[in-house]
């Protein structure tokens, strides 16, 4: 009998596979990112594009937009694989489902979360976010987007395959990720006022570690419930 690949190998193979699949439809990758940029554009259009006003609301706008973009991305996380039967194979395989789903979420973050982090300086600049707040915002987003993807993944696993889904996924995700919004926006805000954002960043990091350690198991349990 051939030896089973180790956990690390299995993880990276899964990540690679998902990345390869995603890059076959490069256009779709850009959707959450475009959404992020468009939402941030909506606010100056809807309000007075005065620099002082925009600067005041910039932290809120950036963070709400990132949240909504990750909501959008969560929809498509597992749907394809469940539809074509790959997920069942994954659940039946000897590799731990939690690890495989974590791998999928990692690939997903690389495609939908990381671009938000990279785009944030440009978006921040457009909203007159002061340059000194940019590094903090990027760090905070780098910590927050994995949390958003992980929780999005858990809720997506719960609702995968439901026909009457609709806005259900958003309703499930939003209450749970509000702390992320609070700490993240606060970090940006503190950096803007020249204060040390350390407290907020540490809290975000703590949430990220908590999510990283617990959500894969929740995802796996939810997926098994949905596949039955």
């Amino acid at each position: 009998m051939t030896e089973l690949p180790g956990l690390g190998t299995a993880f990276w193979l899964q990540v690679k596979r998902d990345l390869q699949l995603a890059f076959r439809h490069v256009g779709q990758i850009a959707n959450p990112l475009m959404f992020f940029i468009m939402v941030t554009t909506l606010f100056p259009l809807a309000l007075n594009p005065m620099p002082r006003l925009l600067e005041a609301i910039a932290p809120g706008v950036v963070w709400v937009a990132a949240l909504l973009a990750s909501l959008l991305a969560a929809e498509g996380l597992f749907r394809q694989d469940v539809d074509d039967g790959t997920m069942e194979q994954l659940a039946l395989s000897p590799q731990p489902l939690a690890l495989m789903l974590l791998a999928k979420t990692t690939a997903h973050w690389l495609i939908t979360g990381l671009p938000l982090v990279i785009m944030s300086p440009i978006v921040g600049y457009a909203l007159f976010l002061p340059p000194e707040a940019i590094p903090t915002t990027m760090t905070a987003l780098a910590l927050a987007t994995p949390i958003l993807n992980l929780i999005g993944g858990a809720m997506a696993a719960l609702t995968v395959g439901l026909r009457r889904g609709g806005g259900l996924l958003s309703l499930l995700i939003l209450p749970i990720v509000m702390p992320v919004l609070i700490f993240g926006a606060r970090a940006t805000d503190m950096a803007m006022s020249g204060m040390d954002p350390g407290g907020a960043l540490y809290l975000l990091a703590a949430l990220m570690l908590l999510a990283l350690s617990l959500t894969p198991f929740a995802m796996a349990a939810a997926m098994r419930i949905s596949l039955d």
Binding site: A154, L158, T159, L162, R164, G165, L168, L171, L172, L174, P175, I176, M178, P179, I182, F183, R186, L203, L207, L214, A218, A221, A222, I225, S226, D228
Partner: protein, 245 residues
């Protein structure tokens, strides 16, 4: 409270016992709530700062406490159902949700009514009201998920997992909202919470709280019986039980 339904895992047994228990809880609730209302409205001394307005506390705090208590109850029942695969526990969780949501709504409404004379606006982004609002969303999410899944078994287990995720997040949400609120609180606002209370104010609060808990028990038992009827389709004990009532 949640240990006894562990023993009462058998639906027919539960159905008969809860039918007999409900009137006790119902009458206890009625008496306690009436006594608490009278005491809170007429016997408790008026607050030095808030005058008679503070009396709203006698409905606001019990509602808010119950809204949280019911959610925790729901999550524990869900966990019991998920881990030990006891169907009745899932029925209890399902029955808890609408009751808890109504208490949350009541807490928000009474909190809002209290806010108007105190701070001049109907809504304030006070830490506790905001947390209550998020709790309402958690209840709605739970009920929406249940409604969206047709298969009873999958609905039970998926919503159970959701309830557990929610209950784990409640302390995190409460902490983050309080943290957020202490930074943004204008100087004039004092906490909408309980001031350190004299006993003659506190006693009526405890009476109302006890009354609300008995009320919850009575309504819950009724709803669980209704759930059991639907879930036990085709079982032999049903016919006799239905004809007995």
């Amino acid at each position: 409270m949640w240990t006894w339904f562990h023993k009462l895992g058998s639906p027919p047994h539960f159905y008969r016992i809860s039918a007999r228990l409900t009137p006790w809880f119902a009458w206890a609730a009625l008496v306690l709530i009436l006594v608490g209302t009278y005491g809170g409205l007429y016997l408790a001394p008026a607050d030095y700062q808030q005058l008679d307005g503070f009396r709203i506390i006698y409905v606001h705090v019990p509602s808010a406490s119950l809204s949280l208590f019911v959610y925790v109850n729901m999550a524990i029942a869900a966990a019991v159902g998920l881990v030990w695969r006891i169907k009745l526990a899932h029925a209890v969780a399902a029955a808890c949700a609408p009751i808890g949501a109504s208490f949350t709504f009541l807490a928000l409404a009474t909190g809002s009514i209290w806010a108007k004379p105190m701070w001049g606006t109907w809504w304030v982004w006070d830490a506790r009201l905001t947390s209550e609002l998020v709790l309402l969303f958690l209840y709605f999410g739970y009920m929406a998920l249940r409604a969206a899944i047709d298969d009873e078994n999958r609905a039970d287990r998926a919503s159970a997992l959701l309830a557990i995720i929610g209950v784990v997040n409640i302390p995190i949400i409460k902490y983050s909202v309080e943290w957020w609120n202490t930074l943004h609180q204008p100087a004039t606002i004092s906490k909408l919470g309980k001031p350190s209370m004299d006993f003659d104010m506190l006693v009526w609060l405890l009476v109302m709280l006890a009354g609300f808990i008995c009320f919850f028990a009575a309504v819950l038992l009724t709803r669980v019986r209704a759930e059991v009827l639907v879930r036990s389709r085709g079982q032999k004990w049903l016919k006799q039980a239905v004809q007995e009532t």
